[in-house]
């Protein structure tokens, strides 16, 4: 469904994302294609699907900072979603190639705010942008706990402008 290019040099090689990569070196770039089941009777991508696209971008960003290997670590951190904001700009259609840019907009001891920009390829039009706000928890729990140092420093690397 999607491939990812967290390395800025690789991403910069792709014409579509160059402008964004130049502006900010720390955005994780995830490519995905709009599936037929993502569309509705209006012929465009259903508005709820963009939250799943954000998730795809976030999961790839978290893989990049090592969350995928966290299964083997003593503390299994999780990110509980508490708020989501989505702004829809340009409708997208079946088979459109999208690039989800994901970065950390704000990082604190108890919570993290991810920001997203979804750009349609190859014209680079912004399809949607938004933010999700998460509280650090242990997997299987809803109570907030401070994240382990490796996760916090990994997320800090994804911080915009850092």
């Amino acid at each position: 469904l999607f491939s990812t290019a967290p390395n800025p040099e690789t991403a910069a090689a792709r014409a579509g994302c160059v402008r964004a990569v130049k502006r900010c070196q720390v955005r994780c770039q995830t490519e995905l294609r709009v599936g037929f089941s993502d569309t509705d009777a209006a012929g465009i991508t259903h508005y709820a699907r963009y939250l799943a696209f954000f998730e795809a971008g976030r999961v790839e960003a978290l893989r990049d900072v090592g969350l995928a290997e966290a299964e083997s670590r003593p503390q299994r951190p999780g990110l509980r979603l508490v708020e989501a904001h989505l702004r829809y700009r340009t409708p997208t259609r079946f088979d459109d190639q999208l690039c989800v840019q994901t970065w950390v907009a704000e990082l604190r001891q108890k919570d993290v705010r991810f920001a997203y920009e979804i750009r349609r390829q190859p014209d680079d039009a912004i399809a949607a942008s938004g933010e999700t706000w998460h509280i650090f928890v242990d997997v299987g729990s809803t109570r907030g706990v401070p994240p382990p140092a490796w996760l916090w420093s990994g997320l800090a690397r994804l911080q915009d402008g850092s």
Binding site: Y47, A48, L51, E83, R87
Partner: protein, 136 residues
């Protein structure tokens, strides 16, 4: 003026590996609720479309509170919170039917497009119905 209320039963397909309703499912419940709200005003969305008026979502916000789980019955309350010449905003509250705990709240903002896909003012016949759904 009263809020429109829709009952939604959480299905297995709504849940994720945590056992809770998935993040994006609330946006679908919001859609069910606002479709019900205008349908109950005598304007099913198909009728609005037949008059060559399309609604496009331009913004959505969700706050996640108490998780909902499979087989939970949910009350989705919905009303119009903002109404201008060109934009309208629906507000939502999702509550667990068992104890009325808030599971999620949110808003969605929309504009109207004509048959050519161009933005247009909200037509007066639609505005009238929206006024009936308006709570500030």
């Amino acid at each position: 003026v009263t809020r429109s209320t829709t009952l939604v039963r959480v299905r297995l397909a709504d849940t994720d590996a945590r056992g809770c309703v998935g993040d994006s499912r609330f946006l679908e419940m919001f859609e069910i609720a606002r479709a019900d709200a205008v349908r109950n005003r005598g304007l099913p969305y198909t009728t609005i479309l037949a008059r060559d008026v399309h609604a496009l979502t331009v913004e959505a916000n969700v706050s996640y509170l108490e998780p909902a789980r499979e087989d939970d019955l949910l009350h989705v309350h919905c009303w119009i919170s903002e109404l201008s010449q060109v934009r309208f905003t629906f507000a939502y509250e999702v509550r667990l039917a068992s104890d009325q705990a808030l599971s999620a709240t949110g808003t969605t903002t929309h504009i109207c497009l004509n048959g050519q896909g161009q933005p247009m003012r909200i037509p007066s016949w639609l505005r009238t119905e929206f006024e009936h759904l308006r709570l500030s």
